[in-house]
Symmetry: C2
Subunit: 212 residues, 2 copies
């Protein structure tokens, strides 16, 4: 195990970006120091939970009665989340969703740089979306290797998702962010994050139904 002390929990990691966003807001308002109580109140969380989460990432301890120095905590979070350390990624599937992702420049802030896209549709191959070229799928292995890309985004229909994933893996990609409604089978050592919109929707509906 490469764990420094105790491994950071998945749940914590999911909350950190929300803290960071909240801190940006406070900083913009000129708030110098921020307490875990304040963050918890702003994000509807438990103060103790916030404090524990922060303990993982903060380099300097918080002061009683004041809390943490806003700018320092922001820096610590950004470092921890790797926002300063940009990674190149490719995207496969320049359809509706793929188009939207390529068109969104906000990921740069999170240290993600989508360099180009791939597709099989001759209508989009050769075009450029938001300055990012769309290549033929067959060129994927070559380009991934040449630029040493480690992250791939999948926005193809579920029918071809596994095929695309296999191609990515064989080209050397080490992490896949998939928006396809399909379970992907990947070898150990390749990280996967599956964005399951159907599941999200199910969760929301369930809350909705249980009200009336």
């Amino acid at each position: 195990m490469t764990a420094d002390r105790t491994e950071i929990s998945k749940a914590t990691l999911n909350r950190l970006p929300a803290y960071l966003r909240y801190l940006y807001e406070l900083d913009k308002k000129g708030v110098q120091t921020v307490s875990s109580t304040m963050i918890a109140a702003g994000l509807d969380l438990n103060p103790v939970q916030v404090r524990k989460d922060i303990a993982f990432v903060a380099t300097s301890p918080g002061k009683p009665k004041l809390g943490y120095v806003t700018k320092e905590l922001i820096a610590d979070l950004e470092n921890f989340l790797g926002y300063h350390n940009t990674r190149d990624a490719i995207l496969v599937g320049a359809g509706g969703l793929g188009h939207a992702i390529l068109g969104y420049d906000g990921f740069a802030k999170y240290g993600l740089n989508v360099t180009c896209a791939f597709d099989v549709d001759p209508a989009v191959i050769g075009t450029s979306i938001n300055g990012k070229p769309v290549y033929d799928m067959s060129r994927l292995p070559e380009l991934v290797k040449r630029f040493n890309i480690s992250l791939g985004i999948i926005t193809v229909p579920s029918g071809s998702a596994q095929e695309v994933a296999d191609l990515m893996v064989s080209a050397g990609i080490k992490a896949i962010w998939s928006f396809a409604a399909k379970h992907l089978n990947l070898p150990a050592g390749v990280a996967l994050k599956h964005e399951d919109l159907a599941a999200s929707l199910a969760l929301l509906r369930m809350q909705l139904v249980s009200q009336d």
Copy 2:
């Protein structure tokens, strides 16, 4: 509480759509019965977990040595997840992501019908995306009330997300699906599902980094 026995867990609810998708595949291949072991193997899960999850939704019990009848289990899952019971929704923010969602007809399968969109940009107001009209934001309350819409999708920049959410709530919307990178403050009784792409990305990067 309307809980039949023990309340269904959030984690379970997140897995059910994946089961359903897998069952569709098997059914298409002509597989008559399916065991929890088979599902678990296909989706890299624990068989007991699958069995417990299924116990929540299945109307008829599984048979030892055989498992569940594929078509029956599909029907049970679809019913449970409410896929047959379509809900109307509106979307606010006809930008890149909003455009992609409006253009995607796959949500119908999940019982979600996005009827129309709203925006403030004169360039898109009055146009139609995938057959869905885009109205001026000011008409939102009127239309939500007229058609008794209960679900709203937010795809606006984070700066205006809270404002949009407030408008939705005051118009009578009871569930919000937000893609904005911003914590929303909502009154009790309004359900919220926040799609935090930054958090997803953080999770993925962390796995990636811990490899090398």
